[in-house]
């Protein structure tokens, strides 16, 4: 598999060098490594710190900036960051009003952020944690590690980040993040596997006429493999799975994220969004806000994830609040 890289071991570091060169609003510490707002720490503002494996760009470093994250810790590709870098990032942006960690629900992420929160607590920095677990393809049961954190992570980071910008306290910011997570459901379908730089070949083989249903964002196979269906049926299957787990009533507002997993052309995402929009309209649900594009990716995987968040007026107001990050910017 061909890639624009110099050496598999250097991919994360060299991408951060590029991120830093492209975005002077960020302060990129290559030794952490982490990316922080150049104007952090800001006295009296709750600091939002997220992170996770690399390979999901623009998440998370692309969401660092005004109205969203204060810092992001990129791990190796698909590997959670280590406690030391989470501690370093949290200390770098702590403005004295507390730190909120936004953590996707994966075994490794949860462990490393927990170890970091313990270390920070020992050093006098109180950490509140928002756990994101929006992927409805996985049953939340004793038979699994629990639902995965996927597309809703960026909604949590946007809305909680906007609240933090208003001067709200850490508990309120964390509670808002949790509210957004609970209001959100996601479901993903893949047409190809992805290829990590280190492995150099796709994680699995998928015949031309088949698709992986219920995939995550780490190139792992999905819950099941099925015959490829028309986009309309894939959109319907995804929306039904989300609505079954996170029902939305007629007359309610939603934010819809039609997200590409890295290897899907925008034309296909818009086609899928059109299908979803039609189905929601038929159900009397109003799409108050939407995003279509690559926001939470899985390297070069051809695939899509749909996220539906039942949004109240406060969430929508915070969604509309100014944001200035590499990957999301409006109102400024």
């Amino acid at each position: 598999m061909k890639k624009f890289i110099n050496h598999p071991d250097a991919v994360v570091r060299e991408a951060l060098i590029g991120l830093s060169a492209a975005h002077p609003d960020l302060r990129v510490d290559l030794d952490g490594p982490y990316a922080a707002r150049a104007d952090a720490p800001r006295a009296g503002k709750v600091a939002l710190v997220s992170g996770g494996g690399s390979g999901h760009e623009p998440m998370h470093a692309g969401f660092v900036g005004l109205g969203m994250l204060d810092a992001a810790c990129p791990g190796e590709v698909f590997t959670s960051p280590v406690p030391d870098q989470i501690v370093a990032a949290s200390r770098a942006v702590d403005g004295g009003a507390g730190v909120v960690h936004i953590v996707k629900n994966y075994t490794g992420d949860v462990m490393n952020f927990q170890l970091a929160a313990d270390l920070l607590g020992d050093g006098g920095i109180e950490v509140q944690t928002v756990l994101v677990n929006d992927d409805v393809a996985v049953e939340d049961s004793t038979w699994t590690a629990g639902r995965r954190g996927t597309g809703a992570t960026m909604l949590v980071e946007k809305i909680a980040g906007a609240l933090a910008e208003t001067g709200a306290g850490a508990a309120a910011v964390a509670a808002m993040g949790t509210r957004v997570n609970e209001a959100s459901g996601s479901f993903a379908v893949a047409l190809t596997a992805c290829t990590t730089p280190a492995a150099g070949r796709p994680g699995f083989e998928l015949p031309e006429d088949e698709m992986e249903v219920g995939v995550g964002i780490h190139g792992e196979p999905g819950r099941r493999r099925e015959q490829l269906l028309p986009a309309r049926d894939i959109a319907a299957m995804s929306l039904e799975a989300i609505m079954a787990a996170k029902p939305v009533a007629s007359g309610e507002d939603v934010i819809v994220l039609m997200n590409g997993l890295g290897g899907t052309p925008l034309i296909e995402l818009y086609l899928l969004y059109g299908e979803v929009a039609g189905m929601l309209e038929a159900a009397g649900v109003r799409i108050a806000r939407n995003l279509v594009g690559d926001y939470v990716t899985s390297l070069d995987m051809a695939g899509m994830s749909l996220t539906v968040c039942r949004a109240d007026a406060e969430m929508l107001r915070l969604w509309d609040a100014p944001v200035r990050t590499p990957a999301l910017r409006w109102g400024v």
Binding site: F78, T107, M111, N112, A145, A198, G219, E220
Partner: protein, 216 residues
Amino acid sequence: MDASQARAWLYAVADSIAGQADHLTQLDAAIGDSDHGVNMNRGFTAVRAALDGAPADGVRGVFTLAGSTLVSRVGGASGPLFGSALRALGKALPEQGDADTAALAAGLRAGLEAVCKLGGAVPGDKTIVDAYAPAVDAFEQAARAHSGDRDGGLAAAARAAADAAQQGMRDTIPLQARRGRASYLGERSVGHQDPGATSTWLIFQALADTVTTRRP
């Protein structure tokens, strides 16, 4: 076990993991995210470098340094789990000097408890624990049975632990994963050998090789 044996064990683990990194990554590609070999190799390469740069300390210092290095350098679930196991092993050993086989058995048990506490896994979940738990049981039994040996039963215990870990690793194949990333696959995780259990076997195999070849 003295500090030089402890170091030799960890160097042997680093060699073994480096040689098996591609195999571990392939196992992970089937039911995970294709990075287990890469992560373990990065971690134990860092352990080797840390030990090279550290003074010849007691066994306790060797294992706690190795464990802290894994926690700091690996990430994912493997870093905290294997790192915590080695740290707990070290902390259970005497502050100065060597560890006898009974102390090592207690340390390995403490490491297992750390893994179970941090990861929440129990035997049968298709994880590290499925190789680690039987290995500790076998180590304890053999250590007691062979306590009269010239080496205090270390070689016999290590060999028994490696064999039990290998069996436990193989026994993960028919299991459905209930922890970690493989659990997202549900029934599709059945039929694949767990990468974490495989690394666990490599670690115990390296222990057996180290203590049987160095101190016959």
